[in-house]
């Protein structure tokens, strides 16, 4: 993780001016920690664009992008790639150019290769935090194991059709918890204590028992992604509309493994999730905004993370954004 900010170091006048509003939310210490954090983003789709834009505007230290998809095949929801970007450049390169213009204080770079190249030891070692966007469960599982070993914070997110979710694994996360109480005389007293939050692994989060869990309140999207994770782990790819039968079979297995009634899992939603071949920008904005807030809290080490360990947003659930702690 990012090292402690150097004592006595001040933000420059210009930094103080452009970060004025957010400094009022998270304070100077968080801003300094943020400015030293190195974030590696694997996969440059619409969700990645949202998170990257948010953390670059917030003033993260550096962002490295990995995705060698040519711009001719750019995901339409990645608004960082201009419509007229040369076909010969990659989506990572085009996104990096736009990001660098958004905030000159952030170092933006591109690493060669496909998103999976982010997992190479020489790349992971250079990062405090890894964000996987639009990667299947086999990649997430592999990345999570490596990140837990190296003490790198991991976020992963997938947006498909009317569904979007994010997973966070900060390992054993320590943070400052602050409570400010207004006194009658207008002054305020501040209580600060160090707290610790333990995050389950991806493997645990996608294989845990759900016995005793209230299925009424349970986000159905969690069940969908868990069934699909099993498929992706086996096939090392996302399911498509053609995989409906295989998924239905896996669904029965997942329900019995989790110890819940298979009727809880909505079959039509599973089919819709598998068949979705595009994302919705509005859902990218919601999920990407939540992930960025959590990234800032993770590297700023101030304030309790809101997502431990799944954020699940589904229009099929009436457009609620739920947090589940699994594993």
């Amino acid at each position: 993780m990012a090292s402690s900010p150097k004592a006595g170091e001040q933000l420059t006048e210009h930094e103080a001016a452009i970060y004025d509003r957010q400094l009022r939310v998270w304070g100077v210490e968080t801003q300094k920690r943020l400015s030293q954090a190195r974030v590696l983003i694997a996969g440059c789709n619409g969700l990645a664009a949202e998170v990257a834009k948010n953390i670059v505007l917030a003033g993260v230290g550096s962002v490295a992008l990995v995705d060698d998809t040519p711009c001719s095949l750019r995901p339409p929801s990645n608004f960082l790639v201009p419509a007229d970007a040369p076909a010969s450049t990659t989506v990572a390169e085009a996104s990096a150019t736009t990001l660098a213009e958004m905030n000159p204080y952030v170092k933006v770079s591109v690493l060669p290769g496909t998103p999976v190249a982010a997992l190479a030891p020489e790349n992971l070692r250079q990062a405090d935090l890894l964000l996987l966007c639009g990667q299947d469960a086999s990649v997430i599982a592999q990345a999570d194991a490596l990140c837990r070993e190296d003490g790198v914070a991991l976020f992963a997110g997938v947006c498909r059709g009317i569904f979007g979710w994010a997973f966070a694994d900060l390992g054993e996360h320590t943070y400052l918890w602050e409570k400010v109480e207004e006194q009658k005389d207008g002054s305020s007293s501040k209580t600060v204590e160090e707290r610790m939050l333990s995050f389950p692994s991806w493997a645990a989060a996608t294989s845990c028992s759900l016995q005793g869990v209230s299925t009424k309140r349970l986000s159905k999207l969690y069940l969908l992604l868990r069934v699909c994770a099993k498929f992706e782990q086996q096939q090392e790819r996302f399911p498509t509309a053609e995989d409906a039968e295989a998924l239905a079979a896996l669904a029965a297995g997942v329900c019995s493994e989790a110890g819940i009634d298979p009727a809880v899992l909505p079959a039509n939603q599973l089919a819709a999730y598998a068949a979705a071949d595009a994302d919705m920008p509005a859902i990218n904005a919601v999920v990407g905004g939540v992930v960025a807030n959590e990234v800032i809290k993770a590297v700023g080490r101030k304030g309790e993370p809101a997502v431990n360990n799944f954020f699940l947003f589904s229009l099929a659930d009436g457009g609620q954004g739920s947090v589940e702690r699994m594993g």
């Binding site: 103080a16 509003r21 957010q22 009022r24 005389d185 305020s188 509005a282 859902i283 099929a316």
Partner: protein, 571 residues
């Protein structure tokens, strides 16, 4: 991003006449990303008049809210009372401050205009009244002669700054100390001694010659950390240098300067001036950063939350454009999840409040001293200040008052001549106890009735504004937050609404932060939402709770999927 899309950008104030009802009628829906309550209320009225659905939004820190307002189907933006800017009794500001904000408001709204702006905009040169009596005080209550704060002939800027310092923080404080009635239950203020402070400075080795400020007193004095709280001596130096800088470097603005939170020198002046006053009264001093936030009513908007809320706005807009307005909901973004596990929660858009003055036909009651309140005050404080009208017209019997662009010159002159008259002395028998006044605003297509009640003996501590509005008004219920405009931030207009209504519920609690942003804290936000609904007396809590039950959920799944299907087809 999408080269084929037709986008027109208009630069201007949404309250300009060119963005009237006809302009709004050209659209299928309106998405608000406004930063102040007045503009939000104005757009709400135009959307009602034009019958165009409105998606309203607001953010503050990690919190956000999106609501949808459709005429005849849901509540309008003003069906629930909105918190209005907090006001302070003038005598507290002038004589007995006890919080940092009292000193900051004094420095910004009273002292700043007195020294650099239009002195008539300041209340500081009025007589100091003995507390609560409303009458002029004794010997200490001599009116401050505004000409005292004029620069004298041949007076150097440093001399002027020192003279003003001594007047504000020595002479005036001494005068106040002599008003013993004020200090029975309070600690009397202690005057500052400028000579002693300057002597300290000289001993400190920096010399008493003021450095050239060049737009920033702090920079000139080497006080570069905006988060540090200066000591009294540092505040005194900033005060003197800032006053000098205004006189020497910004002479052209004198007499007309207005406080602006992005004006570095103005913020430095207000910080030093309010801290020096705080020092007299034993009130904690504040950093420049904190003072700027409080003086400028800065709302804490961050890119991440704005992004989430923009996504939620688009989802509601898609439902409207896809022809499924019944599926629209109110969404809340919370900072933390609680028992309900929702970070983004939803509730059905509430139906309209039949007693709403804006979208309904309700009457409002105005209690006022009709012999003291002038027509000018009625127009400025009540109609424009509280009812957010732009160009109000009033009629009552044979009395008529109008504002607007279509008036003849002689009409304008005549109406202006009425403004200084007390309500009871207006033509046609006056506006007196029991008068029913028709109030309208053509630009907003706003119409309402105001029923006047006469009352004397106002206690300034309780009603600093000198009037009381009743009825289901688009106005404040309680003193809550200063919701003033900010240049870039998105003010949480909607947030205080939910907070204010939810506060009636059993499990929700209102918290006012140091900067006045109202946040909703609740153990269970769904209970709070239910409470919000019952607070309005239109939906039963049980009814709302069922939304989370099977039937409600199924209905929504259906709606949600239908909308998206439609979108997929059309794309």
């Amino acid at each position: 991003m999408r080269p084929g899309v037709d986008i027109t950008a208009y630069q201007g104030n949404v309250k300009e006449a060119r963005f009237g009802v006809d302009f709004f009628r050209r659209f299928d829906c309106v998405l608000n990303g406004l930063d102040n309550l007045e503009a939000r209320r104005h757009v709400n009225r135009l959307c009602l008049a034009a019958e165009v659905p409105l998606v309203e939004s607001g953010t503050a820190g990690f919190l956000g809210q999106v609501s949808v307002h459709i005429k005849g189907a849901t509540e309008c933006f003003e069906c629930q009372p909105k918190p209005t800017p907090k006001t302070f009794p003038v005598c507290t500001l002038r004589n007995t401050p006890d919080k940092p904000i009292h000193c900051i408001v004094w420095a910004k709204e009273m002292l700043f205009p007195l020294l650099f702006g239009a002195p008539e905009a300041s209340d500081l040169n009025e007589t100091i009244g003995a507390e609560g009596s409303g009458e002029d005080g004794g010997e200490a209550g001599q009116a401050d002669d505004p000409s005292f704060y004029q620069r004298r002939e041949g007076e150097g800027s440093r001399q002027y700054a020192e003279r003003v310092f001594r007047q504000l923080y020595s002479t005036k404080i001494e005068e106040l100390r002599r008003m013993e009635d004020l200090w029975h239950s309070r600690r009397p203020p202690e005057p500052l001694n400028l000579d002693a402070l300057l002597a300290l400075e000289a001993n400190g080795g920096s010399g008493s010659a003021a450095p050239a400020a060049k737009g920033s007193a702090c920079k000139a004095l080497g006080l570069t950390d905006a988060h540090a709280v200066w000591d009294v001596q540092q505040n005194a130096r900033v005060f003197l240098v800032a006053v000098q800088a205004f006189l020497d470097e910004r002479a052209d603005e004198l007499g007309a300067a207005q406080f602006d939170k992005d004006d570095q020198l103005a913020v430095e002046f207000v910080t030093a001036a309010s801290n020096l006053r705080a020092a007299c009264y034993g009130i904690p001093m504040q950093s420049l950063f904190v003072t700027k936030g409080m003086a400028g009513n800065i709302i804490h908007a961050i890119a991440t939350t704005n992004a989430i809320v923009s996504g939620l706005i688009v989802l509601e807009a898609l439902k409207l454009l896809a022809g499924a307005p019944a599926a629209c909901q109110t969404s809340f973004l919370h900072q933390q999840v609680s028992g309900s596990k929702r970070l983004v929660s939803r509730m059905a858009a509430p139906t309209s409040n039949p007693a709403c003055m804006v979208c309904g036909t309700a009457q409002a009651g105005l209690v006022v001293d009709t012999h003291r309140m002038t027509l000018q005050q009625l127009v400025d404080k009540v109609l424009k200040g509280r009812l957010a009208l732009l160009a109000p017209s009033l009629s009552c019997g044979s009395f008529l008052y109008e504002e607007g662009q279509d008036l003849e010159e002689d009409e304008v002159t005549f109406y202006r001549s009425l403004l200084p008259r007390p309500l009871a002395s207006l033509p046609g028998g006056g506006l007196v106890n029991g008068s029913i006044v028709e109030v309208s605003d053509q630009e907003q297509q706003f119409k309402a009735q105001l029923v006047i009640s006469h009352r004397e003996d106002w206690d300034e501590e309780v009603h600093p504004e000198g009037f009381e509005l009743s009825g289901s008004l688009p106005a404040a219920e309680a003193e809550q937050q200063p919701a003033a405009p900010t240049a870039t931030a998105s003010e949480p207009a909607a947030l205080p609404t939910s907070a204010a209504t939810a506060a009636k519920g059993p499990k929700a609690e209102l918290q006012e932060t140091a900067d006045g942003v109202v946040v909703l804290t609740s153990d269970d936000e769904e209970a709070a939402e239910a409470a919000a609904a019952t607070g309005k007396g239109k939906r039963k809590a049980s009814e709302l709770a069922e939304d989370d039950g099977q039937d409600g959920k199924r209905a929504r799944v259906q709606e949600g999927t239908d909308v998206v299907d439609l979108l997929d087809d059309s794309d």
